[in-house]
């Protein structure tokens, strides 16, 4: 049996399908435009000097961003050391121990922190670190990024710990293992790929953050003198160079963006490959 308007309805269906495909295509086109443009403009400007030298004085052509790369590694590394463990332990607490009332408030706070704009985290780090020390410092930048990292890692860890089947835990407990050993030796290893994925995604996210570093790490055109002093970082350098009036700095901004983007995308892809492995591969 044929409905009278069947052809028209099918046409509408085809039109809607095409339209929705076009929307998805648009998003993909945006991604590829960014990747292609950064790759073509940035890769050409990257060379050995760029990676290993300090910035030249203003107005001189050339020089590199070695201090920014090292600074980013230090700031992000310390942020991961501060925020990662708190996030993972908090996430384990939520999934293994918390009564529903406590869990509600912890989750609520984590979600609230997660939604706070990163620049507001910068203000927070400024008021608890920079003001008392009376100096911009890499440490303040690390604190700002660490606070951003905590809720991301926490919610993710909780989610993956929850996926560990009850029977696995019960099996361990039935053998007389104390609960903490059961969590650390049985449940956590089972959830480890997911937990690490979350950590890696979180780190790749904070590595690209610029706003919270402007008035915490502040930036530095020389090698930094330690975590308690102003420190250069890659995203901040890209920003400074991009809004500068110098042609050569623009070129270096593209090159810096290329390096940052490569790092972020590699971390992202690695993280997702990690999760592809069947959970519970640890036997």
């Amino acid at each position: 049996m044929r409905f009278p308007d069947y052809a028209r309805r099918k046409q509408v269906d085809r039109f809607a399908t095409a339209l929705s495909a076009a929307c998805a295509f648009f998003a993909l086109a945006a991604l590829f435009a960014i990747l292609g443009y950064i790759a073509s403009k940035g890769a050409a400007a990257v060379n050995w000097d760029f990676l290993t030298q300090l910035p030249k004085p203003v107005g001189e052509i050339g020089g590199g961003i070695a201090n920014s790369i090292v600074g980013t590694a230090k700031i992000v590394g310390l942020a991961a050391l501060l925020g990662g463990p708190i996030g993972i332990l908090g996430g384990i607490y939520l999934s293994e121990y918390a009564s529903s009332r406590t869990a509600f408030w912890v989750r609520y706070a984590a979600d609230a922190l997660n939604g706070v704009p990163s620049i507001v985290m910068g203000i927070f780090a400024y008021s608890i670190i920079v003001l008392p020390l009376k100096r911009f410092s890499g440490l303040a930048g690390s604190i700002a990024l660490g606070v951003i990292l905590i809720p991301i890692v926490l919610r993710n860890t909780e989610e993956f710990m929850r996926l560990v089947p009850r029977s696995v835990r019960e099996g361990a407990l039935a053998l007389g293992i104390p609960r903490w050993k059961c969590v650390l030796r049985v449940a956590l290893p089972t959830a480890a790929p997911g937990v690490l994925t979350g950590l890696l995604l979180g780190i790749s996210r904070i590595a690209g953050e610029t706003a919270p570093l402007i008035f915490t790490a502040f930036g530095n055109r020389f090698w930094d003198q330690g975590m308690l002093h102003p420190m250069a970082s890659l995203p901040l350098t890209i920003y400074t160079y991009a809004i500068s009036p110098y042609e050569d700095w623009h070129r270096q901004a593209w090159a810096g963006a290329f390096i940052l983007l490569m790092f972020v995308l590699t971390a992202n892809i690695l993280a997702r490959l990690l999760m592809r492995r069947p959970t519970g591969g640890h036997s």
Partner: protein, 323 residues
């Protein structure tokens, strides 16, 4: 059965089920975990407290009039945040206007229309778009988008220039560019969340519609979208929360001029951008407190919006009858 378990416990070398040492271990472990979890609550409270305390001079000097004052003159210590609030709201609204239809369209394609493999690859790539750091989007904005916008704007002015929305001069930088950049940044969020939401629609409902002879599009717009409506609105709100707080990309293309103009082509300023630009150079205490005050407004705004968003997404998680 019981002797077997007992024997296996005995063989595993555990003598007592939980000796005092193990119980102490349990207590220490739980306390450590609890401390980590509670520190998150403490951080959230500390954040709210610091923002309030460190903006006290502002509230003392300006009062709530800060929110609707239109003059921003740090030298005279007159602080009115309306131009920034206006800029943030207009650019975010523009971004949603562009990104919501695109995002929902893309999500419908990925979750309902596309073959599974295509959907998996596209979904992955769109999540990668969300991972691109905002400073890189801003860089593209300055050197690629702004010149394009600048070349299109004369055409907009000549055709639609009689509307106040499209009057003025073709600067390139301005509200329009900021809105476009923001749209690009929230698009992957809307797409990813909406896609996840649409995948929770029970397949029995969709199959019911298909079995009744509905085409796929009819299934989407009569079954899937209405079922997931509240969560889709939640996704839009989450994206709005992102857009309001987005700093770098907006700062780089909005023009950084604290004025309120009806035209989208005119340069403006946003709350996050003024903090980013002026914080490190703020000299007086009153100035710093004013900027932190803007941060507090931004904080409260995103808190409210994200709260709404989560509530709407959670509503979907409940059984349909309870709604």
């Amino acid at each position: 059965m019981i002797p077997v378990i007992a024997r296996s416990i005995a063989r595993s070398g555990v003598k007592k089920v939980a000796g005092p040492r193990e119980r102490a271990g349990d207590r220490v472990f739980q306390a450590a975990l609890c401390a980590a979890a509670m520190s998150v609550v403490a951080l959230a409270l500390a954040l709210a407290c610091r923002l309030s305390i460190d903006s006290r001079l502002l509230w003392k000097a300006m009062g709530p009039g800060f929110l609707w004052g239109t003059t921003w003159d740090p030298v005279a210590e007159v602080f009115g945040a309306l131009p920034f609030i206006f800029g943030t709201l207009v650019t975010s609204a523009l971004a949603l206007l562009i990104a919501v239809p695109l995002g929902i369209g893309a999500a419908v394609f990925l979750s309902e229309m596309a073959p599974r493999r295509v959907a998996a690859v596209c979904g992955f790539l769109i999540e990668l778009l969300a991972a691109v750091p905002s400073v890189i989007i801003g860089l593209m904005g300055i050197f690629v988008l702004v010149p394009v916008v600048r070349s299109v704007e004369p055409f907009l002015i000549s055709t639609l220039g009689r509307l106040p929305l499209f009057s003025g001069f073709p600067y390139g930088v301005g509200m329009l560019s900021a809105g476009l950049v923001l749209a690009m940044m929230v698009l992957p969020y809307i797409t990813t969340i909406t896609r996840e939401v649409l995948m929770t629609v029970p397949s029995s409902l969709k199959e019911g519609a298909l079995a009744l002879g509905a085409t796929r599009w009819e299934t989407v717009h009569t079954v899937s979208l209405p079922y997931a409506r509240s969560a889709v609105v939640g996704a839009v709100f989450l994206a709005l929360g992102r857009a309001l707080g987005e700093t770098m990309a907006v700062t780089m293309v909005i023009g950084n001029t604290p004025k309120i103009s009806a035209s989208l082509l005119d340069p403006g300023y946003s709350m996050a951008a003024v903090i980013a630009n002026e914080f490190a150079e703020a000299t007086s205490d009153a100035y710093v407190h004013a900027l932190i005050g803007i941060g507090l407004v931004l904080f409260v705004l995103t808190l409210l919006i994200n709260g709404c968003a989560r509530w709407m997404i959670l509503r979907l998680a409940r059984p349909a009858g309870a709604r």
